[in-house]
């Protein structure tokens, strides 16, 4: 440990020594060996500055024979303690110093004494208020490692403070642990230029730089990935060849893009032959993000990042895999302040290729009421844990798609989501006049020579049989309902029987455990239903949402050229209102 510390201190010193030192040319009087014709006497301190509260090694370098063992001293004035001074040779000495936290800022003279000779170096050393130190101050080419960054008189904040190691070194993570301490996880590229480099920590407008403070060593730990290119949807064999690595059965392989690990490439088989060889198979999602990927190989504390290890190439879509997804719905909300009915009509269509391999899990099916008039209270299951899945590839079907019915045609306009590049068709400025009740629309695509051709798929998008409205009570103005009394409400029948279904629910918080839940029912669509205290009391008092929905499903269908014929559209006419349970 001591040796490691010494090496660390030396590296810090050496690193700092490489920065532009304050160089002082002094009068050569007293230096008998320089002579009038000799070189200009130069004595340098490096680094020429240090932060308050820091401890470091300062090298003293002369260009003529100067230092002598046991007779060399350094004085940097009040507030700086010289712990030791070591003469390496007649040209070089190293002083270990400590700068007091309250040492006066600014430049100060350095007094160097050798025997009975003294040299004063005016302004040769400067005490600064902010500085940083790194541990370790070096890394191998190709290495991924944690570096402790210690700041003196800094005020770092997580999320606002960042570090920069320069070209060829990526900062994978920078965690501020305290205003003066941070942990940086860095990845040194295998082709990073060996040598000293600057490291900067940026905290808003404040930038603190350690000049030439980090060494990229020529020792290399890295790995080489093959194959260099894969296509979306590929399942391919790979080889990973390490250089000075220690692969094991526990070695993990991750594929990184600009946003970090991306699971759209998965290792499906992996065999570790020895310390430097792994073979296996990867499955590339058919929607894997295009372009280059880094490969991060981790074995215990050892990690190597292979930048741009492989490139994901586009695979042309196969129309045989295209799945249509369409919808046509009406959403109504009763304004709690005015009672106004706000209405939104939405129609959409998207043509996508399902993820292969599948990603994530579908929502847990929720339990709920069964026909008819069977009131109950159920929990609302939590959403599944978020999974970072790729965005399925979508196809263009031309500039327009239409829902064509016997009485009207609903045009859907092509829209490209900028962030994902996905294509979706939306009905624009739709009103209830566009939504014809009791209709089953055909799906008609304009066609795109590079995507889905023109097709007409008949009778796939239904609409609910009839309009309906909530009649009593008035669902606005902070409608307040006692949980100890029956809550009766009425509506104009939605004529759902037998093809559609009408349901209502009161959504709030379950009194039993404070989790989301609802009281629900599929009432006879006769226009009158009652929730009872036995259900209402299972919900906590407070604001709740009352919802009524008319719902219908269409037939199974698919595009004529696709192997998938399991699409099924639906339509909902929902009405939401606010009320208060007491």
């Amino acid at each position: 440990m001591k040796r490691a510390l010494l090496i660390g201190l030396w590296l810090s010193m050496m690193a700092l020594a490489a920065c532009k030192p304050h160089q002082v040319s002094t009068d050569t009087s007293g230096l008998g060996d320089t002579g009038d014709t000799g070189p200009t006497y130069q004595l340098e301190l490096s680094p020429p500055s240090a932060g308050q509260g820091s401890s470091l090694d300062v090298s003293l370098t002369a260009n003529v024979s100067t230092f002598r063992f046991g007779e060399t001293r350094l004085d940097l004035g009040p507030g700086i303690t010289i712990d030791s001074i070591t003469v390496l040779d007649v040209f070089d000495a190293v002083a270990s110093i400590h700068v007091d936290p309250d040492a006066e800022l600014g430049a100060r003279d350095a007094l160097v004494s050798v025997g009975d000779k003294d040299w004063t170096l005016p302004g040769a050393f400067t005490v600064i208020d902010r500085s940083i130190a790194l541990d370790p101050p070096y890394a191998k080419m190709g290495q991924v490692l944690h570096v402790s960054v210690t700041g003196t008189n800094t005020n770092w904040a997580d999320g606002y403070t960042y570090a920069d190691w320069g070209d060829g070194i990526d900062v994978l993570d920078f965690s501020v642990l305290s205003p003066g301490l941070a942990d940086a996880r860095i990845a040194v590229h295998p082709d990073a230029t060996p040598g000293l480099r600057d490291v900067s920590v940026e905290d808003g407008p404040e930038v603190t730089t350690l000049y030439q403070g980090f060494t990229v060593d020529r020792a290399v730990i890295t790995a080489f990935w093959d194959p260099p290119e894969v296509h979306q949807g590929d399942s391919v064999s790979f080889t990973l060849t390490g250089l000075d690595t220690h692969f094991s059965r526990d070695t993990t392989i991750e594929f990184w893009d600009d946003g970090g690990p991306n699971p759209d490439i998965q290792v499906t088989a992996q065999t570790t032959a020895d310390d430097t060889h792994i073979t296996g198979t990867i499955q590339v999602s058919n929607a894997a993000r295009l372009d280059y990927r880094d490969v991060l190989v981790t074995t215990g504390d050892e990690a190597v990042l292979i930048p741009n290890a492989l490139k994901v190439l586009d695979s042309p879509p196969n129309l045989n895999d295209v799945v249509p997804q369409i919808g046509f719905d009406v959403y109504r909300t009763i304004d709690n302040a005015t009672g106004t009915l706000q209405e939104r009509v939405q129609a959409y269509a998207v043509f996508f290729i399902p993820l292969d391999p599948p990603c994530g899990s579908s929502s847990q099916p929720s339990d709920g009421p069964r026909p008819y008039d069977n009131n109950g209270v159920w929990p609302i299951p939590p959403p599944p844990d978020p999974v970072d899945c790729p965005n399925p590839e979508t196809l263009s079907a031309g500039d327009f798609v239409w829902f064509e019915g016997p009485e009207n045609v609903v045009p859907l306009h092509k829209d490209v989501i900028q962030s994902t590049g996905q294509i979706i068709y939306w009905g624009q400025d739709l009103t209830l006049d566009d939504y014809h009740f009791g209709t089953t629309y055909d799906l008609h695509t304009q066609g795109d020579p590079h995507g889905v051709p023109e097709v007409l798929v008949e009778k796939v998008q239904p609409t609910v049989p009839a309009d309906y409205h909530l009649l009593t009570p008035q669902f606005w103005g902070d409608l307040t309902v006692s949980r100890n009394q029956d809550f009766e409400y009425t509506w104009s029948p939605a004529q759902t029987y037998p093809d559609a279904i009408f349901s209502t629910q009161i959504s709030g918080t379950l009194a039993a455990d404070g989790t989301p839940g609802f009281a629900g029912c599929i009432p006879w669509d006769d226009g009158d239903h009652t929730y009872h205290p036995s259900e209402l009391q299972q919900l906590e008092a407070g604001p709740v949402t009352f919802s009524a929905s008319s719902f219908i499903q269409g037939r199974y269908f698919g595009l004529p050229f696709s192997r998938y014929q399991t699409s099924r559209s639906s339509s909902t006419l929902s009405t939401d209102a606010q009320m208060i349970l007491q």
Binding site: L11, D89, F91, V94, P194, D217, R218, A219, F224
Partner: protein
């Protein structure tokens, strides 16, 4: 580490006989290190040591033979692609080598290791070439001065395997490259050199790890600098080398020239010391104005 053969009595006897035929230098390890007058100089440009640095400081003309593996770390802007002279043209040609009194082979010169340091491709084109080794031996035999630093050590080990016992398996290129990054206070133990310099200590800087470690030397090898730096013999554990040679010089049996090897990089040392060491151990160079080789 493979046991090394020391110079045998018969070998020494043969070498002693050859001494009768040489005119410039005398004696096994007793040859004069200092006082060599040198002129035409060639240097190789390698990745890790700018061996031309002291020559530039002393205004010594020299011809540069490009031998970059990946990047000249001492000057990443060095555009080696446009350098006409290549290290293969130098070490691969006895005639070209003989045009120079002194040849500096820099650490990180390509062709002198097992494989490139940042990849898996082999990098032993020169050191595994019998012609190159023959040229090297002939060059020194005929009076040439060969100065080799750090990673170029395989050229010395393969050319004169009995002179220096490097760390690790002698049959494996790069096996000796186990030194640790750091700085060490070292002793200039050769009295002749210490006298020439006027001091007998120097701080030796190892600016990169994995420098070539010397474990022992044959009796005819003179140790110029020795010290106790750290190394990692098994790649993991750090150990201290006790009083090991860090810079040596020898005159191969029957040779009129000499071989100087440093385990450290010339360009990482204190310039004043390095210039003095070069002058003392390698020789006095003809400075600009009288040289016959254009400075590259």
């Amino acid at each position: 580490m493979t046991p090394r053969h020391r110079t045998s009595p018969a070998h020494r006897a043969r070498f002693a006989g050859l001494l009768l035929g040489v005119t410039t230098l005398a004696g096994c390890s007793d040859f004069n290190i200092t006082g060599w007058n040198l002129s035409d100089v060639a240097v190789t440009a390698g990745d890790f040591d700018n061996v031309a640095a002291p020559l530039d400081r002393m205004v010594v003309p020299h011809r540069t033979y490009e031998g970059i593996i990946s990047v000249a770390t001492w000057d990443p802007s060095y555009d080696y692609q446009d350098v006409a002279y290549k290290v293969e043209d130098l070490l691969g040609s006895s005639a070209n080598m003989s045009a120079f009194s002194t040849i500096f082979v820099a650490s990180g010169t390509r062709g002198l290791g097992q494989r490139v340091y940042n990849g898996l491709e082999p990098d032993d084109e020169l050191v595994s070439s019998p012609d190159v080794l023959k040229n090297t031996r002939e060059y020194v035999k005929n009076g040439g001065v060969l100065v080799v630093t750090d990673w170029a050590y395989d050229l010395v080990e393969q050319s004169w395997p009995d002179e220096i016992d490097f760390e690790g398996d002698d049959t494996v290129y790069d096996a000796a490259q186990t030194g640790e990054i750091g700085r060490v206070a070292a002793d200039i133990v050769d009295p002749e050199v210490a006298d020439a310099l006027g001091y007998d200590t120097m701080g030796v800087t190892y600016d990169y790890s994995n420098w070539a470690v010397i474990q022992d030397v044959a009796p005819d090898v003179r140790v110029i600098v020795q010290g106790s730096p750290h190394y990692h013999p098994d790649g993991q554990t750090s150990e201290t080398l006790q009083d090991k040679p860090l810079m040596v010089v020898f005159q191969p049996p029957g040779a009129r020239g000499k071989v100087v090897l440093t385990t450290f990089h010339i360009d990482a040392q204190t310039p004043e010391i390095m210039d003095a060491l070069i002058t003392a151990v390698v020789g006095n160079f003809q400075t600009d104005g009288g040289g016959t080789v254009a400075v590259q």
